[in-house]
C-alpha cells in the first residue's frame, strides 16, 4: 500500500539525510565561526503578529497555511524565518547590546503553483544580523554567505547583488510622479525590460529613459558602479560602491553586481542578494537589508540576512545528473577572461 503525501512535500531517506546533514554541519560551523548563535522558533505563529511585518499579500513569502486555535485566534505556518526572528529580537532581545548575530535552520511553508514543481516545505538555513547598518553589516553578511558557499563545497557559487534603493532613489531624483515610479519598479521586479522601457519612455524624456534602461541592464563586477560623471547615477550607486569597497577580494570575486535587481519581497530596503550555483537555473538562496522591519516588530534596528535553500544546495552539489545537455559552470572560471562573444571559437 502506498499512501500519498501532499504535493510539494517529501520524505527523506537515510542516504539523502546523511548527505544533507553534511551540508548542514558545514553551514552551522560557518555561522558559529563567525559568531552567530543558533535559534529555533515555533513553526506556527499568530497571523496578527506576522502581519505587522507588512509582507506583500501577493508575494511568495506570504504565509499560505492558516488555522484557528481554541480561542479563535488565527495561526499561520511561517513562510520564512526573517519575520519570526524580527519578532524574537523585538521581544526577547529588547535590551541586548547590538549587533545581534543569530542563525537558524528551519522548515518554512509556502503555497505552490500546480505543475511547477514548487516545494510546500522548504528547509532554509541562514543568518540575521541585527543592529549593523550598511555598509559594514552588509559586508559581514556577504562575507559569511560566501564562506558558507565555500564550506559546503560550492566555491563556484555566485551572489547577484543589487540595491532595492537604487532605482527608487534615481527616479525620485528625476521627479518622477509616485504612480509612474511604482509602474517602473513593478516592471523591474518582474524582470520585464520591455515593459520597463515602455514605462520609462512614458515618464521621462527620451534620452533620460534610454539611459535608465541601459543602467537597468548593467551587471558585472565593481566596474559597473564606478563613477561615471553622471551625478544622479553616481549618487544612486554610492551605496553599492561603498559596499564593494568594503568586501575582501575573495568575496568580491563571488559577487555579480546587478543594477536592475530590485526587491521581490516587500521588506527589503537596501542591498538585495540572489544566490546561484553552477548547473541550477534558479536562485538557491537570497537575502538582503531590511532596515524598517524590526521597528514594526518592536525594536528599531537596521538588519541584514540571507537564507539558503538547503535542498537546492544539495542538488547543486550532486551536480548535473540531469541530462548531459545542461552546461555546467559559468562563462569563465575566476581569474580567466570570459570568451568574447562575436568571435568564433
Amino acid at each position: 500500500m502506498t499512501l500519498p503525501i501532499p504535493s510539494g512535500t517529501r520524505d527523506v531517506l537515510p542516504d539523502e539525510m546523511r548527505e544533507r546533514d553534511g551540508v548542514l554541519d558545514a553551514l552551522r560551523r560557518t555561522y558559529r565561526d563567525h559568531g552567530y548563535g543558533e535559534v529555533s522558533t515555533p513553526a506556527v505563529e499568530y497571523a496578527s503578529v506576522l502581519e505587522r511585518a507588512g509582507v506583500d499579500p501577493d508575494g511568495a513569502a506570504r504565509p499560505r497555511f492558516h488555522t484557528v486555535d481554541e480561542r479563535g485566534q488565527t495561526l499561520v505556518l511561517r513562510s520564512d524565518m526573517t519575520v519570526p526572528i524580527a519578532r524574537l529580537v523585538g521581544s526577547r532581545f529588547a535590551d541586548a547590546p547590538t549587533p545581534i548575530r543569530l542563525s537558524y535552520t528551519a522548515n518554512c511553508y509556502r503555497g505552490v503553483t500546480p505543475g511547477r514543481g514548487d516545494a510546500r516545505e522548504v528547509l532554509q538555513s541562514g543568518i540575521e544580523l541585527c543592529g549593523a547598518p550598511a555598509p559594514a553589516g552588509t559586508v559581514e553578511a556577504l562575507t559569511v554567505l560566501v564562506a558558507a558557499l565555500r564550506a559546503v563545497g560550492l566555491d563556484g557559487g555566485r551572489v547577484a547583488v543589487g540595491d532595492a534603493a537604487f532605482f527608487p532613489g534615481l527616479l525620485e531624483g528625476l521627479d518622477v510622479a509616485p504612480d509612474a515610479r511604482d509602474r517602473v519598479l513593478h516592471e523591474l521586479a518582474t524582470r520585464d525590460h520591455v515593459g520597463l522601457r515602455r514605462e520609462l519612455d512614458a515618464a521621462l524624456a527620451p534620452d533620460v529613459a534610454a539611459r535608465l534602461a541601459e543602467v537597468a541592464g548593467r551587471r558585472g563586477g565593481p566596474e559597473i558602479v564606478a563613477e561615471t560623471g553622471d551625478a544622479q547615477i553616481d549618487r544612486a550607486a554610492a551605496g553599492l560602491r561603498e559596499l564593494v569597497a568594503g568586501l575582501a577580494p575573495d568575496v568580491v570575486d563571488h559577487v555579480i553586481l546587478d543594477l536592475g535587481l530590485t526587491r521581490r519581497l516587500g521588506y527589503y530596503t537596501g542591498a538585495v542578494f540572489e544566490v546561484f550555483a553552477p548547473g541550477i537555473g534558479h536562485p538557491i538562496g537570497g537575502g538582503g537589508r531590511y532596515d524598517d522591519l524590526l521597528g514594526r516588530l518592536g525594536r528599531d534596528l537596521p538588519a541584514v540576512g540571507f537564507a539558503l535553500d538547503v535542498d537546492a544546495v544539495h542538488t547543486a552539489l550532486v551536480g548535473t545528473a540531469r541530462g548531459s545537455w545542461r552546461q555546467v559552470g559559468w562563462d569563465a572560471p575566476p581569474g580567466q577572461p570570459a570568451p568574447i562573444p562575436g568571435e568564433d571559437a
Binding site: 555566485r158 524582470r191 525590460h193 520591455v194 545537455w325 570570459a338
Partner: protein, 211 residues
C-alpha cells in the same frame, strides 16, 4: 555550440521560420534544424526546439539559457521567473474577445439578460484578468483547440483567442468585439544565465535587435 555560448530555446509553429531566419543572419547556423523535422535538440548550433508555450518553462529552469516566444505565452504564464529582454517585433498577433457575427452581439445580450457570460478560451489567466479588470462576471470554459467551435455549437457566448489575420474567425462566422492585448516575439533569459553569461546574453540581444 553557437558563437554566443548560449543554449537557445526556439519555438516550433508559426514563429519557427522567422526565428531561424534571424538566427541565421546573426551567425547561428540553423541548416540542421531546417533539415530535420523530428529532432528536437541540436547541440552544435546550441538550439533546442519546442512548442512556444513550453519555452518559458525550459528557460525558467535553466534547461535553456535564453528563448524566443510570444508575449501571449508570457502573459498567460505570468509569474515565471524569466527576464524579458527584448521585443523582437515579428510574429504579431492580438488577443481578442470574439462572438458570433450579428447585431445585437450575443455576448452583450447574455451579459444584459443573464448577468454573466460564458467564454471559451485556451488562455484562462489572460481572460480571467481581463474580465476582472473590466468588471464583468464570466464563466470560463477551458478548451484545448479549435476555440471557434465553442460559440457556434452554443457551448459559450464568446471566446477569447489569439488572432493574426482574423481569417479563422471570419471563416467561422465570428467577429472581433474587443482587443485585449497585442503580442509579438520576445527574447527571454534565465535569471542565472542573465547574470553569469552576461556578455553572451547581451551580445545576442544586441545582434537580434540590430538585425
Amino acid at each position: 555550440m553557437n558563437r554566443f555560448g548560449l543554449r537557445i530555446a526556439v519555438p516550433r509553429g508559426t514563429m519557427l521560420g522567422e526565428t531561424l531566419d534571424r538566427l541565421d543572419r546573426i551567425g547561428v547556423p540553423t541548416a540542421e534544424v531546417r533539415d530535420n523535422d523530428r529532432r528536437l535538440l541540436f547541440d552544435e548550433a546550441g538550439i533546442v526546439t519546442m512548442r512556444p508555450s513550453d519555452v518559458a518553462t525550459y528557460v525558467e529552469a535553466g534547461a535553456a539559457d535564453v528563448g524566443i516566444t510570444g508575449k501571449d505565452v508570457l502573459m498567460e504564464q505570468a509569474g515565471r521567473d524569466v527576464v524579458e529582454l527584448a521585443d523582437l517585433g515579428y510574429g504579431p498577433c492580438r488577443m481578442v474577445l470574439a462572438s458570433v457575427a450579428g447585431d445585437p452581439d450575443p455576448a452583450e445580450e447574455a451579459l444584459r439578460r443573464l448577468g454573466h457570460l460564458r467564454v471559451a478560451t485556451k488562455y484562462v489567466r489572460i481572460a480571467t484578468d481581463y474580465f476582472e479588470r473590466t468588471g464583468r462576471q464570466v464563466e470560463l470554459v477551458k478548451v484545448n483547440g479549435s476555440v471557434e467551435l465553442a460559440p457556434l455549437t452554443g457551448l459559450v457566448d464568446a471566446i477569447v483567442d489569439l488572432t493574426a489575420t482574423g481569417t479563422t474567425l471570419r471563416e467561422n462566422g465570428l467577429v472581433e468585439r474587443e482587443e485585449i492585448a497585442r503580442s509579438t516575439a520576445r527574447l527571454i533569459a534565465n535569471p542565472a544565465s542573465h547574470r553569469l553569461r552576461a556578455a553572451g546574453v547581451d551580445a545576442l540581444r544586441e545582434a537580434l535587435l540590430a538585425d
